[in-house]
Amino acid sequence: MPNERMDVEALREDPLEAELPRRNMVINLGPSHPAMHGTVRTHIELDGETIVKADPEIGFLHRGFEKSCENVTWTQCLPYTDRLNYVSAILNNVGFTLAVEKLCGIDVPERAKYIRVIGGEIHRICDHLTMVGAMALELGGFTAFLYAIEARELLWDRVAEQTGARLTTTYTRIGGIERDLPDGFLGRLADTLTRVAELREEIDRLLTRNRIFLDRTRGTGVISAEDAVDYGFTGPCLRACGVPYDVRKAHPYLVYDRFDFAIPVGERGDNFDRYAMRMEEMRQSEKILRQAMEQIPSGPVILDDWRYVMPPKPEVYGSIEGLIAHFKIVMEGVQVPKGEVYAYTEAANGELGWYVVSDGGGRPYKLHVRSPGLPILSGLPHMIVGSMLADLIPTFDSINMIGGEVEQ
C-alpha cells in the first residue's frame, strides 16, 4: 500500500525540512488476546498509538448453528440456542420458543410466562454484570470485576436451582417450560437480589464517579444515534445514543406489559453511556423481578397439548394415546405448521430476532438468527478509527460482543 505520509517530493527539495518517511504499524489483536472476548481477531493499523484502520474479523468460533438446527427436531434446537449468548442462555431459549410458538399459534400458561420472565431477567442481570465487570477488569480495575463475578455467581446458584445448569440452561420447551420453580425459590431469589444489589452499588461507587474511569470512557467510542440506527444497533448500545427503543416496551411480549419499569436512555453514545445503561438496566431488571415474584400465579407451567408437549410419564406408560404422542414427538419432533415467521425479543445486548421457516415437518426448514452483537461489532471500526489503541479496549467491552452469538 503506498504510504501517503511518505512525501518524496518534499524530501527531494529540502531533506532537512522534510518529514521523515514512516509507515503505519499493523498489529493483530487476537484471536488469542486478553481483551478479545471469545475468539475474534481485530486487524489494526496504527499511526503511533492512533488507530488508522480497524478490521474485526469473526469466524473463529463459527459452529454452523443455523445449519445444525436444520438437522435436528425443533426441541433439539434448544441446547444449541444456549450456546449463542452463553452468558444469558435463558433469553435465547425464550426467544427461540416464542418464535416456534408463534408459528404454532399456541399460547403458554400464565405461570410459565412469569417464570420465563424471571429466568430471563436473572440472566439479563448476569449478562450486564459480566459486561460491567469485564470493562472494569480490562481498564485495570480488577476489584470491581471480582465484585461483579461474585454477584453473578450468586445469581447462577439460583439459575442452577431453577434450571439444573449454570450456563447451558435449555430451560424452555415449546408450550411452556421444562420444570416448575423449586420450593422456596422465590424467597432465596429475593435474598440473592438484595445481596446482588449491594454488590452492584459497590461497583457503582467504585466506577461511576471514578475520575480515571470517567476519563477513559467519556467521549471514547462515540457513535451518533443516526449512525447507530443505520448500523442496526439495538439494545443498550442503541439506547446509549438516545434512542429509546426496547422491545419489552415497544412490542411487549410474555407479560412485560404488566410491569412498571423504565428504559434508561443515554445522551452521548459513548462508552460511559453504554456502561451506565447496563448499570441502570440491572436496577430495572431487579424491579421487574420483584414485581414478577409478587404477581406470579400458580398453575401449570406447560400446556397440556400432546401435539406440542411430551405427555406425562404415567400417560406414556399407561395409555396408547400417550405412548403414541410420546413416540411421535421423540421420533419426528413437534409438527410445526407450514409457514414462516419472524419473532423478536429483547436479549441482554439488543434485539434477538428469529426468522423461522417450517415446511410442516418436525425439523426447521430454515432458521436464521438476528444476533444483536453482529451489527454492533460491524460498527466497531466506525467507533474507534481515529482514537487511541487504549480506547479500543473499553469500546470493545462496552459493546459486549459475545462470540457465540455473533459467529454462531
Partner: protein, 459 residues
C-alpha cells in the same frame, strides 16, 4: 476479637523481628567496620558490606519477595476472596502459613520454566534487558539511611556505625541519576523482543518514565530547599525538630511539604509502572514490554517492580515521613525507655548501649513506616483503573510539572521570609486543610444523584 488479637500478635512479632534484625545489623556493621579498620582498609568498606547484606539482602529482598505474596493476599481481602493458601511445606501438614510457601512455589516455577528466546529478537539485548531493569532499581536503596548513626569506640578510634550503605554528598541526585537508568532495561526489553506489542510497551514506558522524572525531581526540590541539603540522613535530622516549637507536632516533610509529597509519591508511583500507571504493561491492551519473557527473566521484571515499591516507600519515609523519628516528645520518651532497658540489663545507663538500643528501636520504626507505605501502594494498585497514554502525559506535563514549579516557588518565598520552618509549616498545614476540605466537598457532592448521562424515562 480473636482475629484482632491475632493481628495484634502478628504486629508485635513483626516489630520484634525488625528489632532483632536491626540489632544484628548494627552489630555486624560495627564488627565488620572494626575489622576492616584494623586491616587499614578504612571502615567505610566494611560497614558498607555489612549494610549491603543486612539492608539489601535481608530487608529489601525479603520484603519485596513477601510483597508478591502480600499483594495477592491483600488483593484477595479487598475482593472478598481467600487468596493463595494451597502450597504446603513438606512436614507441616495442614498449616498453610498464610500462603508463604507460595513464594517458594513461585520461585521454583519461574526457575524451572523454559528460557524462551523469540526468533525475531535481538539476542544480546534480549538477555541484557532484565538485568538492566533490575540492577538500577536494586542500587537505589544504597543511599537510604535505615537507622541513626551510633558512635562506637574501637580502641582509640570512634566508628560511626549506621545502617546505610553509602552516604554521598549528592544524596538525592543519586536517586534521580540511577532511577532514570531503569528506563533502558524496559525500553530495550520492548525493542529487543521483536514483538510489536512489546515495542509499544517499551515506547510507552520510556515516554512515561521520562515525563515523570521531571515531576519526581521537582517534588523533592522543595524538601531539599527546606532541609538545605541533599543528604538523606541530614534530611531525617531536619525532621526531628518540632513544628512551631511544639513537641508533639514533628516537622515532617509531609507537613511542611504536602504538595511535594503528593507530587513525589505520584511520580514515583508512575515510575513503578503499576496500576493506575501500568500502561507499559497494559495487560488487556498490549500485554506489555515483557510479553516475550518467560521464567526467571520475567521474574526479574516482576521482582524489580516490588523492589521499587520498597525503595519508593523507604525514600518517602526518609524524606517526607521523618525517617526514624516520631515527634520530639515520643523520641525523648523512647530515649528514656532505652536508658531504662540498659540500666535494667547492665545496672547503669552505659551511653553507647543506650544509643544503640535507641537506634535499634528507631530502625524498627523506620521499617514499620516503610511497610505501611508498601501497604498503601498495594491498596492504591488494587483500587484504580488504568490511565490512557495521552492522559498520563497530560497529568505529568500539564498538572504535576506546573504544580511542582509552583511548590518550589512557594517554598522559596516561605524560606526567604522565615528561615525557621514555622511559616512553611503553616502553609503546609493550610494546604493539607484545603486538600481535605476539597475531598470532603467532592465526597459530599457525590452523594447527590450521579452526574451520569443516563436519565431514566419510560416512553
Amino acid at each position: 476479637m480473636a482475629r484482632l488479637f491475632r493481628m495484634l500478635l502478628l504486629g508485635v512479632l513483626i516489630v520484634l523481628g525488625l528489632c532483632a534484625w536491626a540489632w544484628l545489623g548494627y552489630l555486624a556493621v560495627n564488627w565488620l567496620g572494626g575489622v576492616t579498620l584494623g586491616w587499614g582498609w578504612g571502615a567505610t568498606l566494611g560497614q558498607a558490606v555489612a549494610a549491603i547484606v543486612f539492608i539489601q539482602l535481608l530487608f529489601v529482598m525479603i520484603v519485596a519477595t513477601l510483597l508478591t505474596l502480600a499483594e495477592r493476599k491483600w488483593s484477595a481481602a479487598m475482593q472478598d476472596r481467600i487468596g493463595p493458601n494451597r502450597a504446603r511445606l513438606p512436614g507441616l501438614g495442614r498449616f498453610s502459613l498464610g500462603g508463604i510457601p507460595h513464594v517458594l512455589a513461585d520461585a521454583l516455577k519461574m526457575i524451572s520454566k523454559e528460557d524462551f528466546l523469540p526468533s525475531q529478537s535481538n539476542r544480546v539485548l534480549y538477555h541484557l534487558a532484565p538485568v538492566l531493569n533490575f540492577a538500577p532499581i536494586f542500587c537505589l536503596f544504597a543511599i537510604v539511611p535505615m537507622g541513626p548513626p551510633v558512635p562506637i569506640r574501637h580502641g582509640f578510634a570512634v566508628l560511626v556505625a549506621t545502617l546505610q550503605i553509602a552516604n554521598p554528598d549528592v544524596g538525592l541526585l543519586y536517586v534521580f541519576a540511577i532511577a532514570s537508568l531503569a528506563v533502558y532495561g524496559v525500553s530495550l526489553a520492548g525493542w529487543a523482543s521483536g514483538n510489536k506489542l512489546a515495542l509499544l510497551g517499551g515506547v510507552r514506558a520510556s515516554s512515561q518514565m521520562i515525563a515523570y522524572e521531571v515531576a519526581l525531581g521537582l517534588g523533592l526540590v522543595g524538601m531539599m530547599m527546606t532541609a538545605g541539603t541533599l543528604r538523606l540522613d541530614q534530611m531525617v535530622q531536619t525532621q526531628s525538630q518540632g513544628l512551631f516549637g511544639l513537641s508533639w507536632l514533628p516537622a515532617w516533610g509531609i507537613f511542611v511539604q504536602p504538595l511535594g509529597f503528593l507530587l513525589f509519591f505520584a511520580a514515583a508511583f508512575a515510575e513503578t509502572k503499576r496500576t493506575p500507571f501500568d500502561l507499559p504493561e497494559g495487560e488487556s491492551e498490549i500485554i506489555g514490554y515483557f510479553v516475550e519473557y518467560s521464567g526467571m527473566k520475567f521474574g526479574m521484571f516482576m521482582i524489580a517492580e516490588f523492589v521499587e515499591i520498597v525503595t519508593l516507600a523507604a525514600i518517602v519515609t526518609a524524606v517526607f515521613l521523618g525517617g526514624w523519628h516520631l515527634s520530639p516528645a515520643i523520641d525523648g520518651g523512647l530515649a528514656s525507655f532505652a536508658a531504662v532497658l540498659v540500666r535494667w540489663r547492665f545496672g547503669f545507663a552505659e551511653p553507647t548501649g543506650v544509643l544503640l538500643t535507641l537506634a535499634v528501636m528507631q530502625t524498627a520504626i523506620f521499617a514499620v513506616k516503610v511497610l505501611v507505605l508498601c501497604w498503601l501502594q498495594l491498596a492504591i494498585r488494587w483500587t484504580f483503573p488504568r490511565f490512557r497514554y495521552d492522559q498520563i502525559q497530560y497529568l505529568g506535563w500539564r498538572i504535576l510539572l506546573p504544580l511542582g514549579l509552583a511548590n518550589v516557588f512557594a517554598t522559596g518565598v516561605c524560606l526567604l521570609l522565615d528561615p525557621s520552618l514555622s511559616l512553611l509549616g503553616a502553609v503546609g498545614l493550610a494546604e493539607i486543610g484545603v486538600g481535605i476540605a476539597a475531598l470532603l466537598w467532592s465526597g459530599a457532592k457525590s452523594t447527590q444523584p450521579a452526574p451520569a448521562p443516563a436519565h431514566v424515562g419510560s416512553h
